[in-house]
Protein backbone atom coordinates (compact mmCIF):
# COMPACT_ATOMS: atom_id res chain seq x y z
CA UNK A 1 0.00 0.00 0.00
CA UNK A 2 1.17 3.51 -0.69
CA UNK A 3 2.69 5.08 2.37
CA UNK A 4 3.55 1.87 4.23
CA UNK A 5 7.23 2.60 3.66
CA UNK A 6 6.90 5.71 5.79
CA UNK A 7 5.43 3.66 8.64
CA UNK A 8 8.17 1.05 8.25
CA UNK A 9 10.81 3.75 8.48
CA UNK A 10 9.27 5.14 11.63
CA UNK A 11 9.11 1.64 13.11
CA UNK A 12 12.81 1.10 12.40
CA UNK A 13 13.90 4.30 14.12
CA UNK A 14 11.61 3.59 17.05
CA UNK A 15 13.13 0.14 17.37
CA UNK A 16 16.54 1.76 17.37
CA UNK A 17 15.41 4.12 20.12
CA UNK A 18 14.34 1.13 22.20
CA UNK A 19 17.60 -0.72 21.51
CA UNK A 20 19.67 1.96 23.15
CA UNK A 21 22.92 3.45 21.93
CA UNK A 22 25.78 1.30 20.70
CA UNK A 23 28.28 4.07 21.27
CA UNK A 24 31.56 3.29 22.99
CA UNK A 25 32.44 6.36 25.05
CA UNK A 26 35.89 6.39 23.57
CA UNK A 27 38.23 8.25 25.86
CA UNK A 28 36.62 6.53 28.85
CA UNK A 29 35.91 3.16 27.29
CA UNK A 30 38.11 1.45 24.77
CA UNK A 31 37.45 -1.51 22.58
CA UNK A 32 40.07 -4.23 22.44
CA UNK A 33 41.94 -4.12 19.15
CA UNK A 34 42.02 -7.18 16.92
CA UNK A 35 45.19 -9.15 17.46
CA UNK A 36 46.56 -8.37 14.01
CA UNK A 37 45.83 -4.64 14.13
CA UNK A 38 48.77 -2.69 12.75
CA UNK A 39 49.73 0.55 14.46
CA UNK A 40 53.00 2.22 15.32
CA UNK A 41 56.13 0.11 14.92
CA UNK A 42 57.72 -0.83 18.25
CA UNK A 43 60.93 -2.69 19.13
CA UNK A 44 60.73 -6.00 20.96
CA UNK A 45 62.87 -6.97 23.90
CA UNK A 46 64.03 -10.30 25.19
CA UNK A 47 63.36 -11.62 28.67
CA UNK A 48 66.27 -9.74 30.21
CA UNK A 49 65.16 -6.44 28.69
CA UNK A 50 67.75 -6.23 25.90
CA UNK A 51 66.53 -5.29 22.43
CA UNK A 52 66.27 -8.19 20.02
CA UNK A 53 67.40 -5.96 17.18
CA UNK A 54 70.64 -7.04 15.56
CA UNK A 55 70.96 -3.90 13.44
CA UNK A 56 70.86 -5.94 10.24
CA UNK A 57 69.10 -3.09 8.36
CA UNK A 58 66.54 -5.42 6.74
CA UNK A 59 63.64 -3.27 7.94
CA UNK A 60 65.33 -0.08 6.78
CA UNK A 61 65.67 -1.54 3.29
CA UNK A 62 62.12 -2.90 3.31
CA UNK A 63 60.43 0.34 4.29
CA UNK A 64 58.65 1.79 1.23
CA UNK A 65 58.39 5.21 2.86
CA UNK A 66 62.06 5.44 3.88
CA UNK A 67 61.10 6.43 7.40
CA UNK A 68 63.18 3.91 9.33
CA UNK A 69 66.77 4.81 9.96
CA UNK A 70 69.38 2.84 11.90
CA UNK A 71 72.48 4.68 13.00
CA UNK A 72 74.93 1.91 13.88
CA UNK A 73 78.45 1.99 15.18
CA UNK A 74 80.47 -1.15 14.51
CA UNK A 75 83.21 -1.88 17.04
CA UNK A 76 86.59 -3.53 16.43
CA UNK A 77 85.27 -6.96 17.30
CA UNK A 78 82.41 -6.55 14.74
CA UNK A 79 79.86 -6.17 17.53
CA UNK A 80 77.30 -3.51 16.69
CA UNK A 81 76.10 -0.64 18.79
CA UNK A 82 72.80 1.09 17.91
CA UNK A 83 73.23 4.85 18.36
CA UNK A 84 69.73 5.65 17.13
CA UNK A 85 66.85 3.67 15.60
CA UNK A 86 64.73 6.46 14.16
CA UNK A 87 61.14 6.04 13.08
CA UNK A 88 58.99 8.79 11.51
CA UNK A 89 55.50 7.77 12.66
CA UNK A 90 53.86 10.75 10.96
CA UNK A 91 54.84 9.36 7.55
CA UNK A 92 54.27 5.70 8.41
CA UNK A 93 51.45 3.97 6.56
CA UNK A 94 51.43 1.01 8.92
CA UNK A 95 52.02 -1.45 6.07
CA UNK A 96 53.97 -3.87 8.24
CA UNK A 97 56.60 -4.68 5.60
CA UNK A 98 59.41 -3.90 8.06
CA UNK A 99 58.04 -6.44 10.50
CA UNK A 100 57.76 -9.03 7.73
CA UNK A 101 61.32 -8.30 6.66
CA UNK A 102 62.81 -8.64 10.16
CA UNK A 103 64.62 -11.98 10.35
CA UNK A 104 64.99 -11.83 14.14
CA UNK A 105 61.43 -10.95 15.21
CA UNK A 106 62.88 -7.79 16.73
CA UNK A 107 60.13 -5.30 15.82
CA UNK A 108 56.36 -5.53 15.81
CA UNK A 109 53.30 -3.55 14.78
CA UNK A 110 52.17 -2.42 18.23
CA UNK A 111 48.63 -1.69 19.32
CA UNK A 112 49.49 1.86 20.28
CA UNK A 113 46.93 3.79 18.23
CA UNK A 114 46.63 7.09 20.11
CA UNK A 115 49.36 8.72 18.08
CA UNK A 116 48.15 12.33 17.96
CA UNK A 117 50.55 14.88 19.41
CA UNK A 118 50.54 18.64 19.65
CA UNK A 119 54.14 19.03 18.57
CA UNK A 120 55.12 17.71 15.13
CA UNK A 121 58.62 17.05 16.48
CA UNK A 122 57.11 14.34 18.66
CA UNK A 123 56.19 12.37 15.55
CA UNK A 124 59.84 11.44 15.09
CA UNK A 125 60.30 8.45 17.37
CA UNK A 126 63.61 7.10 18.52
CA UNK A 127 62.86 3.44 19.00
CA UNK A 128 66.28 2.50 20.37
CA UNK A 129 68.96 4.87 21.62
CA UNK A 130 72.53 3.99 22.51
CA UNK A 131 72.13 0.26 23.13
CA UNK A 132 74.18 -2.72 22.07
CA UNK A 133 72.62 -4.64 19.22
CA UNK A 134 71.88 -8.29 19.80
CA UNK A 135 74.45 -10.61 18.31
CA UNK A 136 73.04 -12.44 15.31
CA UNK A 137 75.27 -15.41 16.15
CA UNK A 138 73.83 -15.70 19.62
CA UNK A 139 70.33 -15.22 18.26
CA UNK A 140 70.83 -17.98 15.72
CA UNK A 141 72.29 -20.20 18.39
CA UNK A 142 69.47 -19.68 20.82
CA UNK A 143 66.65 -19.95 18.33
CA UNK A 144 67.02 -23.63 17.46
CA UNK A 145 67.78 -24.38 21.08
CA UNK A 146 64.56 -22.80 22.15
CA UNK A 147 62.42 -24.13 19.37
CA UNK A 148 63.96 -27.54 18.96
CA UNK A 149 65.36 -28.58 22.31
CA UNK A 150 65.86 -32.16 21.06
CA UNK A 151 68.02 -31.02 18.19
CA UNK A 152 71.57 -32.27 18.08
CA UNK A 153 74.23 -30.16 19.68
CA UNK A 154 76.52 -27.90 17.87
CA UNK A 155 74.77 -25.38 15.74
CA UNK A 156 75.67 -23.14 12.90
CA UNK A 157 78.57 -21.54 14.73
CA UNK A 158 80.00 -24.72 16.26
Amino acid sequence: MWGTGLIKGLAITMRNLARGPITVKYPYEKLELPERARWAVAPKFDASGNPKCTACMACVRACPDYILDLEVHTAQDKSKHVEHFRYEVGACMMCGLCVEACPFDAIEMSHDYELAVTDPEALAYDLLTDVDAASPKRARAEKPAAEKPAAEGGGPDA
Binding site: L6, G9, L10, I12, T13, M14, N16, L17, R19, G20, P21, I22, T23, K25
Partner: protein, 338 residues
Amino acid sequence: MSPALVIVLRILAALGLMLANGVVLIYMLRKVLGHLHLRLGPVHVGPKGVFQTTMDVLKLLSKEDVWPSGVDRALFYLAPMVVFVPSLMAYAALAFSETWRITDLATGLLYTFAVLSIVPIGILMAGWASANKWSLLGGMRAAAQQIAYEVPLLLSVLPVVMIVGSLNLGDVVLAQDGMWLGFLPKWFVLPQLPAFVLFAVAGLVELNQTPFDMSEAESELVSGFATEYSAMKFGLLFLSEFSNSFVISALGVTLFFGGWLVPWVSSEAIQPIAPVVFMIKVYIGIFVMMWIRGTFPRVRIDQLMQLGWKWLIPASLGWIMVTGLVMKLWQLGPQVVG
Protein backbone atom coordinates in the same frame (compact mmCIF):
# COMPACT_ATOMS: atom_id res chain seq x y z
CA MET B 1 -2.22 45.68 39.71
CA SER B 2 -2.36 48.14 36.90
CA PRO B 3 -3.48 46.62 33.57
CA ALA B 4 -0.26 47.72 31.90
CA LEU B 5 1.83 45.84 34.45
CA VAL B 6 -0.30 42.74 33.97
CA ILE B 7 0.26 42.89 30.24
CA VAL B 8 4.02 43.32 30.65
CA LEU B 9 4.15 40.40 33.08
CA ARG B 10 2.20 38.21 30.68
CA ILE B 11 4.52 39.07 27.82
CA LEU B 12 7.48 38.27 30.07
CA ALA B 13 5.86 34.97 30.99
CA ALA B 14 5.46 34.14 27.31
CA LEU B 15 9.09 35.11 26.69
CA GLY B 16 10.21 32.97 29.62
CA LEU B 17 8.21 30.03 28.33
CA MET B 18 9.68 30.50 24.88
CA LEU B 19 13.28 30.66 26.13
CA ALA B 20 12.81 27.72 28.48
CA ASN B 21 11.21 25.78 25.64
CA GLY B 22 14.11 26.58 23.39
CA VAL B 23 16.64 25.29 25.90
CA VAL B 24 14.65 22.14 26.68
CA LEU B 25 13.75 21.41 23.06
CA ILE B 26 17.30 21.73 21.75
CA TYR B 27 18.50 19.28 24.39
CA MET B 28 15.54 17.01 23.69
CA LEU B 29 16.16 17.16 19.93
CA ARG B 30 19.78 16.18 20.31
CA LYS B 31 18.97 13.38 22.72
CA VAL B 32 16.02 12.02 20.73
CA LEU B 33 17.83 12.19 17.39
CA GLY B 34 20.87 10.61 18.98
CA HIS B 35 18.97 7.68 20.41
CA LEU B 36 16.97 7.21 17.19
CA HIS B 37 20.32 6.80 15.47
CA LEU B 38 21.81 4.50 18.14
CA ARG B 39 23.95 7.36 19.42
CA LEU B 40 24.05 9.03 22.81
CA GLY B 41 23.55 12.72 22.17
CA PRO B 42 25.19 15.17 24.59
CA VAL B 43 26.64 13.46 27.67
CA HIS B 44 29.35 15.69 29.04
CA VAL B 45 27.95 18.85 30.62
CA GLY B 46 26.00 17.91 33.73
CA PRO B 47 24.34 14.56 34.40
CA LYS B 48 23.36 13.04 31.04
CA GLY B 49 24.43 16.30 29.43
CA VAL B 50 21.38 18.27 30.62
CA PHE B 51 23.30 21.53 30.83
CA GLN B 52 24.61 21.28 27.28
CA THR B 53 22.12 23.77 25.84
CA THR B 54 22.62 26.12 28.77
CA MET B 55 26.30 26.18 27.92
CA ASP B 56 25.48 26.61 24.23
CA VAL B 57 23.30 29.61 25.02
CA LEU B 58 26.07 31.12 27.15
CA LYS B 59 28.46 30.50 24.29
CA LEU B 60 26.13 32.18 21.80
CA LEU B 61 25.71 35.15 24.14
CA SER B 62 29.44 35.62 24.57
CA LYS B 63 30.44 35.07 20.94
CA GLU B 64 31.55 37.75 18.57
CA ASP B 65 28.75 39.16 16.46
CA VAL B 66 30.22 38.87 12.99
CA TRP B 67 29.13 41.28 10.26
CA PRO B 68 30.31 39.82 6.97
CA SER B 69 31.36 42.41 4.41
CA GLY B 70 28.74 42.99 1.74
CA VAL B 71 25.67 42.36 3.89
CA ASP B 72 22.72 44.68 3.70
CA ARG B 73 23.27 46.03 7.20
CA ALA B 74 19.77 47.24 7.97
CA LEU B 75 18.04 44.07 6.78
CA PHE B 76 20.73 41.84 8.27
CA TYR B 77 20.11 43.47 11.65
CA LEU B 78 16.33 43.42 11.39
CA ALA B 79 15.78 39.92 10.03
CA PRO B 80 16.32 37.95 13.28
CA MET B 81 13.86 40.23 15.03
CA VAL B 82 11.29 39.90 12.27
CA VAL B 83 11.62 36.14 12.69
CA PHE B 84 11.67 36.17 16.47
CA VAL B 85 8.88 38.61 17.33
CA PRO B 86 6.07 36.79 15.48
CA SER B 87 7.19 33.56 17.09
CA LEU B 88 6.77 35.20 20.47
CA MET B 89 3.45 36.77 19.45
CA ALA B 90 2.13 33.36 18.46
CA TYR B 91 2.04 32.37 22.14
CA ALA B 92 -0.58 35.01 22.88
CA ALA B 93 -3.63 33.07 21.82
CA LEU B 94 -2.64 29.60 23.06
CA ALA B 95 -4.98 28.23 25.70
CA PHE B 96 -3.05 26.30 28.34
CA SER B 97 -6.20 25.85 30.40
CA GLU B 98 -9.54 27.56 30.83
CA THR B 99 -7.87 30.32 32.82
CA TRP B 100 -4.21 30.06 31.81
CA ARG B 101 -3.80 32.03 28.64
CA ILE B 102 -2.07 35.25 27.76
CA THR B 103 -5.08 36.77 26.05
CA ASP B 104 -8.55 35.39 25.45
CA LEU B 105 -8.81 36.11 21.74
CA ALA B 106 -12.06 35.42 19.91
CA THR B 107 -10.03 35.01 16.71
CA GLY B 108 -7.17 33.11 18.33
CA LEU B 109 -6.61 30.53 15.59
CA LEU B 110 -6.66 33.11 12.80
CA TYR B 111 -4.37 35.37 14.82
CA THR B 112 -1.83 32.60 15.41
CA PHE B 113 -1.66 31.70 11.75
CA ALA B 114 -1.50 35.37 10.81
CA VAL B 115 1.52 36.11 13.00
CA LEU B 116 3.25 32.89 11.99
CA SER B 117 2.90 33.93 8.35
CA ILE B 118 5.21 36.89 9.06
CA VAL B 119 8.08 34.48 9.82
CA PRO B 120 8.88 33.65 6.15
CA ILE B 121 9.28 37.38 5.45
CA GLY B 122 11.97 37.54 8.11
CA ILE B 123 13.62 34.42 6.73
CA LEU B 124 13.59 35.88 3.22
CA MET B 125 15.08 39.08 4.64
CA ALA B 126 17.81 37.08 6.35
CA GLY B 127 18.58 35.18 3.14
CA TRP B 128 18.62 38.32 1.02
CA ALA B 129 20.61 40.48 3.42
CA SER B 130 23.36 37.88 3.85
CA ALA B 131 24.76 38.52 0.36
CA ASN B 132 25.42 34.81 0.04
CA LYS B 133 24.05 32.56 -2.68
CA TRP B 134 23.30 29.73 -0.32
CA SER B 135 21.53 32.01 2.09
CA LEU B 136 19.52 33.56 -0.71
CA LEU B 137 18.52 30.15 -2.04
CA GLY B 138 17.51 29.09 1.46
CA GLY B 139 15.53 32.25 2.00
CA MET B 140 13.75 31.92 -1.35
CA ARG B 141 12.92 28.29 -0.67
CA ALA B 142 11.63 29.11 2.79
CA ALA B 143 9.43 31.86 1.45
CA ALA B 144 8.15 29.69 -1.41
CA GLN B 145 7.35 26.66 0.71
CA GLN B 146 5.96 28.48 3.71
CA ILE B 147 3.69 30.69 1.65
CA ALA B 148 2.59 27.72 -0.44
CA TYR B 149 1.82 25.61 2.59
CA GLU B 150 -0.02 28.25 4.55
CA VAL B 151 -2.97 27.58 2.27
CA PRO B 152 -3.38 23.85 3.02
CA LEU B 153 -2.51 24.49 6.67
CA LEU B 154 -5.35 26.96 7.03
CA LEU B 155 -7.72 24.83 4.95
CA SER B 156 -6.91 21.76 7.05
CA VAL B 157 -8.05 23.40 10.29
CA LEU B 158 -11.20 24.83 8.70
CA PRO B 159 -13.34 21.68 9.21
CA VAL B 160 -12.64 21.85 12.96
CA VAL B 161 -13.63 25.51 13.01
CA MET B 162 -16.79 24.64 11.10
CA ILE B 163 -17.74 22.03 13.71
CA VAL B 164 -16.93 24.21 16.71
CA GLY B 165 -18.22 27.43 15.23
CA SER B 166 -15.50 29.47 16.94
CA LEU B 167 -11.91 30.53 16.33
CA ASN B 168 -11.18 30.84 20.05
CA LEU B 169 -8.73 28.10 20.96
CA GLY B 170 -10.29 27.70 24.40
CA ASP B 171 -13.71 27.10 22.85
CA VAL B 172 -12.19 24.54 20.50
CA VAL B 173 -10.89 22.58 23.49
CA LEU B 174 -14.15 22.82 25.43
CA ALA B 175 -16.04 21.53 22.40
CA GLN B 176 -14.00 18.32 22.72
CA ASP B 177 -15.12 17.68 26.29
CA GLY B 178 -17.13 14.51 26.71
CA MET B 179 -17.46 11.09 25.14
CA TRP B 180 -18.71 9.56 21.95
CA LEU B 181 -20.69 6.36 22.42
CA GLY B 182 -19.78 6.56 26.08
CA PHE B 183 -16.14 5.49 25.77
CA LEU B 184 -14.41 7.29 22.89
CA PRO B 185 -12.90 10.65 23.84
CA LYS B 186 -14.64 13.35 21.88
CA TRP B 187 -11.40 14.48 20.26
CA PHE B 188 -11.60 15.86 16.75
CA VAL B 189 -8.79 13.59 15.59
CA LEU B 190 -11.30 10.73 15.31
CA PRO B 191 -13.87 12.25 12.93
CA GLN B 192 -11.29 14.58 11.37
CA LEU B 193 -8.41 12.16 10.83
CA PRO B 194 -7.83 13.28 7.20
CA ALA B 195 -7.79 16.90 8.36
CA PHE B 196 -5.24 15.99 11.03
CA VAL B 197 -2.99 14.25 8.50
CA LEU B 198 -3.18 17.29 6.23
CA PHE B 199 -2.47 19.55 9.19
CA ALA B 200 0.52 17.46 10.26
CA VAL B 201 2.12 17.48 6.80
CA ALA B 202 1.44 21.15 6.15
CA GLY B 203 2.59 21.99 9.67
CA LEU B 204 5.90 20.19 9.19
CA VAL B 205 6.48 22.12 5.97
CA GLU B 206 5.50 25.35 7.64
CA LEU B 207 8.08 24.66 10.35
CA ASN B 208 10.86 23.95 7.85
CA GLN B 209 11.22 20.62 9.61
CA THR B 210 12.92 17.63 8.10
CA PRO B 211 11.85 16.02 5.71
CA PHE B 212 10.84 19.45 4.39
CA ASP B 213 13.79 21.51 5.61
CA MET B 214 14.53 22.90 2.17
CA SER B 215 15.51 26.28 3.57
CA GLU B 216 18.31 24.90 5.74
CA ALA B 217 19.22 21.83 3.70
CA GLU B 218 22.55 21.43 5.45
CA SER B 219 23.96 19.10 2.81
CA GLU B 220 23.33 21.52 -0.06
CA LEU B 221 22.99 25.01 1.40
CA VAL B 222 25.40 24.92 4.37
CA SER B 223 22.84 26.30 6.80
CA GLY B 224 20.52 28.13 4.41
CA PHE B 225 19.34 31.54 5.49
CA ALA B 226 21.22 31.29 8.81
CA THR B 227 24.64 30.67 7.23
CA GLU B 228 26.06 34.15 7.73
CA TYR B 229 24.55 34.71 11.15
CA SER B 230 26.52 34.31 14.33
CA ALA B 231 26.21 34.84 18.05
CA MET B 232 22.80 35.80 19.40
CA LYS B 233 21.39 36.83 16.03
CA PHE B 234 21.77 33.20 15.03
CA GLY B 235 20.42 32.29 18.45
CA LEU B 236 17.22 34.22 17.75
CA LEU B 237 16.72 32.52 14.37
CA PHE B 238 17.33 29.14 15.95
CA LEU B 239 15.12 29.83 18.95
CA SER B 240 12.25 30.98 16.80
CA GLU B 241 12.43 27.73 14.83
CA PHE B 242 12.03 25.68 18.00
CA SER B 243 9.40 28.02 19.35
CA ASN B 244 7.38 27.63 16.15
CA SER B 245 7.46 23.87 16.48
CA PHE B 246 6.06 24.32 19.98
CA VAL B 247 3.29 26.56 18.65
CA ILE B 248 2.33 24.22 15.80
CA SER B 249 2.35 21.25 18.17
CA ALA B 250 0.20 23.23 20.61
CA LEU B 251 -2.24 24.04 17.81
CA GLY B 252 -2.38 20.38 16.82
CA VAL B 253 -3.06 19.37 20.41
CA THR B 254 -5.70 22.06 20.80
CA LEU B 255 -7.50 21.34 17.55
CA PHE B 256 -7.32 17.56 17.37
CA PHE B 257 -6.29 16.11 20.74
CA GLY B 258 -8.52 17.86 23.23
CA GLY B 259 -6.08 20.48 24.53
CA TRP B 260 -5.75 20.12 28.28
CA LEU B 261 -8.51 17.50 28.55
CA VAL B 262 -7.81 13.93 29.53
CA PRO B 263 -10.19 11.21 28.31
CA TRP B 264 -12.43 9.61 30.94
CA VAL B 265 -11.69 12.44 33.41
CA SER B 266 -14.13 15.29 33.80
CA SER B 267 -12.94 18.74 32.73
CA GLU B 268 -13.53 20.08 36.27
CA ALA B 269 -11.32 17.42 37.86
CA ILE B 270 -8.49 18.10 35.42
CA GLN B 271 -8.60 21.86 35.96
CA PRO B 272 -5.82 22.12 38.60
CA ILE B 273 -3.25 20.35 36.43
CA ALA B 274 -4.62 21.43 33.05
CA PRO B 275 -1.50 23.37 31.94
CA VAL B 276 0.69 20.39 32.84
CA VAL B 277 -1.49 18.04 30.79
CA PHE B 278 -1.36 20.50 27.92
CA MET B 279 2.43 20.77 28.07
CA ILE B 280 2.82 17.00 28.19
CA LYS B 281 0.63 16.60 25.12
CA VAL B 282 2.52 19.33 23.29
CA TYR B 283 5.82 17.67 24.10
CA ILE B 284 4.53 14.34 22.84
CA GLY B 285 3.62 16.13 19.61
CA ILE B 286 7.11 17.61 19.40
CA PHE B 287 8.61 14.19 20.06
CA VAL B 288 6.68 12.82 17.09
CA MET B 289 8.06 15.65 14.95
CA MET B 290 11.58 14.77 16.08
CA TRP B 291 10.88 11.12 15.38
CA ILE B 292 9.86 12.02 11.83
CA ARG B 293 12.92 14.25 11.57
CA GLY B 294 15.17 11.40 12.63
CA THR B 295 13.64 9.01 10.11
CA PHE B 296 12.99 10.52 6.72
CA PRO B 297 15.39 11.98 4.18
CA ARG B 298 14.68 15.38 2.67
CA VAL B 299 12.33 15.60 -0.31
CA ARG B 300 13.24 17.60 -3.38
CA ILE B 301 11.93 21.14 -3.76
CA ASP B 302 9.84 20.29 -6.84
CA GLN B 303 8.37 17.24 -5.10
CA LEU B 304 7.51 19.45 -2.17
CA MET B 305 5.76 22.04 -4.33
CA GLN B 306 3.87 19.34 -6.24
CA LEU B 307 2.74 17.78 -2.99
CA GLY B 308 1.50 21.13 -1.77
CA TRP B 309 -0.31 22.47 -4.80
CA LYS B 310 -1.42 19.26 -6.52
CA TRP B 311 -2.35 17.11 -3.54
CA LEU B 312 -2.70 18.88 -0.23
CA ILE B 313 -4.76 21.86 -1.38
CA PRO B 314 -7.26 19.83 -3.43
CA ALA B 315 -7.43 17.23 -0.67
CA SER B 316 -8.11 19.80 2.04
CA LEU B 317 -10.72 21.55 -0.14
CA GLY B 318 -12.35 18.18 -0.77
CA TRP B 319 -12.34 17.34 2.91
CA ILE B 320 -13.93 20.70 3.77
CA MET B 321 -16.70 19.86 1.31
CA VAL B 322 -17.20 16.41 2.81
CA THR B 323 -17.34 17.86 6.32
CA GLY B 324 -19.75 20.58 5.22
CA LEU B 325 -22.05 18.09 3.49
CA VAL B 326 -22.09 15.76 6.49
CA MET B 327 -22.82 18.66 8.84
CA LYS B 328 -25.63 19.92 6.63
CA LEU B 329 -27.15 16.44 6.30
CA TRP B 330 -26.88 16.04 10.08
CA GLN B 331 -28.84 19.24 10.57
CA LEU B 332 -31.38 18.28 7.93
CA GLY B 333 -31.42 14.69 9.17
CA PRO B 334 -34.78 14.74 10.93
CA GLN B 335 -36.46 16.38 7.94
CA VAL B 336 -34.92 14.05 5.36
CA VAL B 337 -35.61 10.90 7.34
CA GLY B 338 -38.92 12.06 8.77
